[in-house]
């Protein structure tokens, strides 16, 4: 069964409060080269289907539930 890897990221225009805290922590640890951290989500789905039909299904699932288009962008890849 194909595996679908979905990556959800906060829109670049939005302040990522979590990312900022993690960036500050990294800098405090001495990693002063870190200029920005953005935190997103990674999901693995096992989905029946193939080709355009599978693409359409994944897009629909992303847009209806997995992603909130007001605040997030997404991309995905199908493996197998």
């Amino acid at each position: 069964m194909p595996q679908v890897k979905v990556i959800v990221t906060l829109k670049p225009s939005l302040l990522d409060a979590q990312g900022r805290v993690v960036k500050d922590a990294l800098q405090n640890m001495g990693y002063s080269d870190v200029e920005q951290v953005r935190i997103g989500k990674y999901m693995e789905l096992q989905v029946e289907g193939e080709g355009a039909e599978l693409d359409a299904k994944v897009k629909e699932m992303c847009e209806r539930l997995l992603v909130n288009p007001v605040i997030e962008n997404y991309r995905y890849e199908v493996i197998g």
Binding site: L10, L15, A17, Q18, R20, L65, L66, N68, V70, I71
Partner: protein, 250 residues
């Protein structure tokens, strides 16, 4: 608190009392507070409705309460939005009846697209549990008619993801049509960056849909309906609704 207008203008003996539904999801935790206010402060009939139910027939008002529905998994409100009952909630709203979302309920209504925008992690990444002051921005809605424009009320907040954001065009529409009902302010009613607890755009604490029959807000008016609990300022919101509905039915 400013303004001396009484918050309890509803005569309990007038007309037919509106019937309230309180939707319960796994993880709701402000359902009993809302129930108590409707039953004991408003003297209106009220029932819990389970998220797996499909009907809201006979109800005038639906309250989507606060809590952590479905453990806030994925995004706050994202999973609850697809519960069985939500089709009925959406139909209820689209037919012009009243839907009020508090805290997680507000998040659910945004996820369901009954209200625009989204609620994201607080600016300082902290869960905030404290009293705030709100300025009533539009006392002309069914949810705020017991208040006056510019009145300051004191109610609690309790959220980790309460930072309201929206696309610039959405924000412009909200402001242009007075759909911002409550804004975070200081005790004197000044809307300042310091009085904004969570980083919400334009200090937005609560908004209405285009028809003003759906309102969502992060603060908890249902926890501020009894002096004994620290504030009674939230009661005006509920009594506004009751009065609006009674007047409509007369």
């Amino acid at each position: 608190m400013t303004g001396s207008k009484t918050l309890e203008r509803v005569n309990v003996n007038t007309g037919k009392r509106p019937k309230f539904a309180i939707v319960r999801f796994p993880g709701s935790n402000c359902d009993q507070d809302a129930f108590h206010v409707v039953q004991d402060a408003l003297h209106c009939p009220v029932e819990y409705v389970w998220h797996q139910d499909k009907s809201l027939k006979g109800f005038d008002v639906v309250i989507v309460p606060g809590g952590f529905s479905y453990g806030d998994y994925l995004r706050c409100g994202a999973v609850a939005r697809f519960s069985n009952i939500m089709d009925a909630v959406i139909n209820h709203a689209n037919s012009g009846r009243y839907v009020f979302g508090v805290c997680n309920g507000f998040q659910i209504l945004c996820e369901a697209h009954l209200l625009p925008g989204a609620l994201v992690r607080n600016r300082d990444c902290k869960f905030l549990c404290q009293y705030v002051h709100l300025r009533v921005e539009n006392a002309g809605t069914p949810y705020s008619s017991a208040y006056s424009d510019g009145q300051v009320i004191r109610v609690p907040i309790a959220h980790g993801e309460g930072c309201y954001i929206a696309e610039p065009e959405t924000l412009r529409q909200l402001e242009a049509h007075n759909r911002v009902v409550f804004r975070y302010a200081d005790a004197r009613g000044n809307v300042t960056p310091e009085s904004n607890p969570n980083g919400s755009l334009n200090n937005i604490a609560g908004i209405a849909n285009k028809a003003y029959n759906v309102v969502g807000m992060m603060p908890h008016p249902e926890r501020a309906c009894d002096k004994m609990l620290g504030s009674k300022d939230g009661l005006g919101l509920f009594s506004s609704l009751v009065q609006t509905i009674i007047l409509k039915k007369m």
